[in-house]
């Protein structure tokens, strides 16, 4: 096989193997960083959108639509204000909804939020259009005091079908606050009077709901009503105080008989949210009536109406700048890696001066020498980019695995061919540009002086 320009480039690279490898690794790291950030940016948004699934609107009494979505879909906090059952019926009956699922939050189990709802939640609501609820074990709740546990909550608490749970009224504060003994944050009350039986463990959905437990509304209403009665009975002088989920309840259960569903009044039947889906054509998620339904609901100033998809888009619009900052940082790292290529080649030029002079004598033009160095630089960039793509695929998968394990977010870090090509092309172009200075040095190599005998 004949010697070609590529042979010369290859020999030049292998002659400085350590420098070549470290330069390629530097480029690979920067390319991988850029690709992972780009892929995770898109995938992160998609993962957030999974939580709201096929719901069109969310109604609550939170202060703002964004808060409603963060609380009602992502379990950020238990909503502080409640909707009445009558209000729910009024909303559900007045407008053309495919379904309207009432929800009640405010209880927890070992730090994991509990959502009380109706059995239709598992039939009608989906975390994503293509993801119906699937039970890893057991079934959906059908009666009071039955509970279904999300996959992540089940893994963390060790809950199994048949286990008995005692729910906490309110949400337990973070462990460090409890350890500090903050007297301002009284410990929530655990309802040991009401046994809940685990009847189902959900398969992972890759949404925020994996962290939650689900029970029926009546059970939760009984829990809250019992709490309310005991509070009124034990602290009559504190009557009319606002319903506070995190309030301490130091009381005597023996003095108050346990309530049943028959004891519930309309005042006990409170909700914190309503998941809504308007009528759509079969196979379509869009609805022509959605804007008008949304406007109609918004006219009611006693409720907050949120379009989860819009709020998630807004949220990503807000954090988009941070996102761009990360991408800008990755771009800076890419430029730094190009400088590394330039330094590696620049430092090698002194050693290669004689080789360049010999090639000139053998018939290589200055332009060809220039091209050899620029091509070598671009090749370093290309190899680094190729290694970076492989590293990015592995890193993105690892990051997705960690996000799913720790946050329950299903992130599908798809490296789109478009981004891969753009980043690789940019890397090669930057690398070629970085090779211009060393190439100029090679171009200007004084042949006569470089061929003088050593010593």
């Amino acid at each position: 096989m004949a010697i070609t320009d590529f042979t010369i480039i290859r020999r030049s690279m292998t002659a400085r193997l350590f420098s070549t490898v470290t330069t390629i690794v530097t480029v690979a790291v920067s390319v991988a960083l850029m690709l992972v950030l780009l892929s995770m940016r898109d995938a992160g948004k998609t993962a957030f959108e999974r939580g709201s699934g096929n719901m069109h609107l969310l109604v609550s009494r939170d202060a703002a639509p964004m808060v409603a979505v963060l609380n009602g879909v992502f379990y950020a906090n238990a909503p502080a204000r409640s909707l009445t059952w009558d209000k729910y019926r009024q909303i559900a009956d007045a407008l053309p909804f495919e379904w309207a699922i009432p929800t009640l939050q405010g209880d927890s189990y070992r730090g994991f939020p509990v959502m009380a709802t109706v059995p239709e939640f598992f039939r009608d609501f989906r975390v994503a259009a293509d993801t119906p609820w699937t039970f890893a074990h057991g079934r959906a709740f059908q009666a009071s005091f039955e509970v279904v546990v999300g996959s992540q909550a089940a893994a963390a608490t060790g809950a199994r079908v048949g286990d008995t749970l005692y729910l906490t009224h309110g949400v337990e504060p973070p462990r460090q606050l409890r350890a500090a003994g903050s007297d301002g944050a009284a410990s929530p009350h655990i309802h040991t009077d009401f046994k809940f039986t685990v009847v189902g463990i959900l398969a992972p959905t890759g949404s925020s709901h994996d962290r939650a437990l689900f029970t029926d509304l009546t059970s939760s209403w009984i829990l809250h009503a019992q709490d309310k009665r005991e509070r009124e009975h034990g602290h009559e002088d504190e009557a009319d105080h606002d319903h506070d989920h995190d309030h301490d309840h130091d009381h005597d259960h023996d003095a108050e008989p346990l309530l049943t569903a028959a004891d519930l009044t309309d005042d006990d039947k409170l909700l914190t949210g309503v998941y809504l889906r308007v009528l759509t054509r079969d196979g379509s998620d869009a609805s022509a009536v959605l804007p008008s339904v949304f406007d109609t609901l918004r006219r009611d100033i006693s409720i907050t109406v949120a379009s989860p998809n819009d709020q998630i888009r807004r949220l990503f619009g807000i954090i988009g700048n941070i996102d761009q900052l990360f991408v800008a940082m990755a771009a800076v790292v890419m430029i730094s890696s190009s400088i590394a290529i330039m330094l590696a080649l620049y430092n090698s030029m002194e050693q290669r001066r004689r080789q360049v002079a010999v090639l000139r004598v053998l018939g290589a033009s200055r332009g060809r020498i220039f091209g050899l160095v620029v091509t070598e630089s671009a090749l370093l960039g290309l190899l680094g980019a190729a290694a970076g793509v492989i590293a990015a695929v592995l890193a993105a998968r690892a990051a997705a695995w960690v996000l799913k394990r720790d946050l329950g977010l299903v992130v599908s870090p798809a490296l789109t061919l478009e981004w891969v090509l753009v980043v690789c092309a940019a890397t090669v172009a930057l690398a070629a540009l970085a090779g211009v200075l060393p190439a100029m040095i090679a171009y200007r190599t004084p042949v006569v002086r470089s061929l003088r005998p050593l010593g």
């Binding site: 018939g363 290589a364 006569v448």
Partner: protein, 240 residues
């Protein structure tokens, strides 16, 4: 009648002075006329620093003949300094072979690859490069063509350098102190080898050296001072 392998006319060269106010220094090279017929061998002698290597680089066109330097250098009938850029480099690669005092073999390339490196700039089809290089190395007694030159003896390294210089069948071979790195025994053998291969290829040989053992091996020899005289004195005698 074929063009001379080398034809020099009114060549005057000196390195550019860094001090413009300084009086013009004498010419480093001042050769009114010099011709070398195809296949002819000439030994050019002179003390160190006299400008022998400079003359070779001028002939090879790697040193520019820019004002105030003047003159004409023709290799195989082509005025090499009239050629610009890549055209001159290509012409040099195909028409001139150079042998250096310290060989200047390419590091990281085997013996045969060093020879093939010269062929990559020629118009010889690529598929013939390896065969041609191996044949030439075999002719020069290199039995381990795939070995790195660093692992060859000094004598073998020089033979690889000779093979590289002659790989493109040049019209003119320029040898710059080709025996300076060799002991007397190897020197004689090396010059004999260079001359015989040049004869086989009918290549003209211009060898510059201050090795006192060489003049007897060249039928034609001259010093730079002699060439500088209006009527160049060319001594004859000895083996061709």
């Amino acid at each position: 009648m074929p063009d001379p392998a080398l034809s020099i006319r009114a060549l005057k060269f000196r390195y550019a002075s860094s001090d413009a106010a300084e009086a013009a220094p004498p010419w480093t090279i001042d050769i009114p006329t010099l011709d070398l017929a195809p296949g002819e061998h000439l030994l050019l002698t002179g003390s160190s620093g006299r400008g022998k290597s400079t003359l070779l680089y001028l002939i090879a066109g790697v040193l520019d003949l820019s004002p105030p330097s003047t003159g004409e250098v023709r290799v195989a009938g082509r005025n090499i300094h009239a050629l610009r850029g890549a055209a001159r480099d290509t012409f040099r690669g195909r028409s001139i072979g150079m042998i250096f005092q310290t060989f200047h073999l390419l590091p990281g390339f085997s013996a045969v690859e060093n020879v093939m490196a010269a062929l990559m700039f020629s118009d010889i089809p690529a598929r013939e490069h390896r065969t041609r290089a191996l044949s030439l190395l075999d002719r020069l007694g290199i039995t381990t063509p795939d070995r790195d030159p660093d692992r060859l003896s000094v004598g073998q390294q020089q033979r690889v350098a000779v093979a590289r210089a002659l790989a493109c069948r040049p019209a003119l071979v320029l040898a710059d102190e080709p025996t300076a790195s060799l002991d007397p025994e190897n020197s004689a053998a090396a010059v004999e080898l260079i001359q015989s291969v040049c004869r086989e290829q009918n290549a003209a040989l211009l060898c510059v050296s201050h090795d006192p053992s060489l003049p007897s091996r060249f039928a034609r020899r001259a010093s730079l001072d002699e060439l500088a005289a209006p009527a160049p004195a060319v001594a004859s005698g000895g083996a061709a």
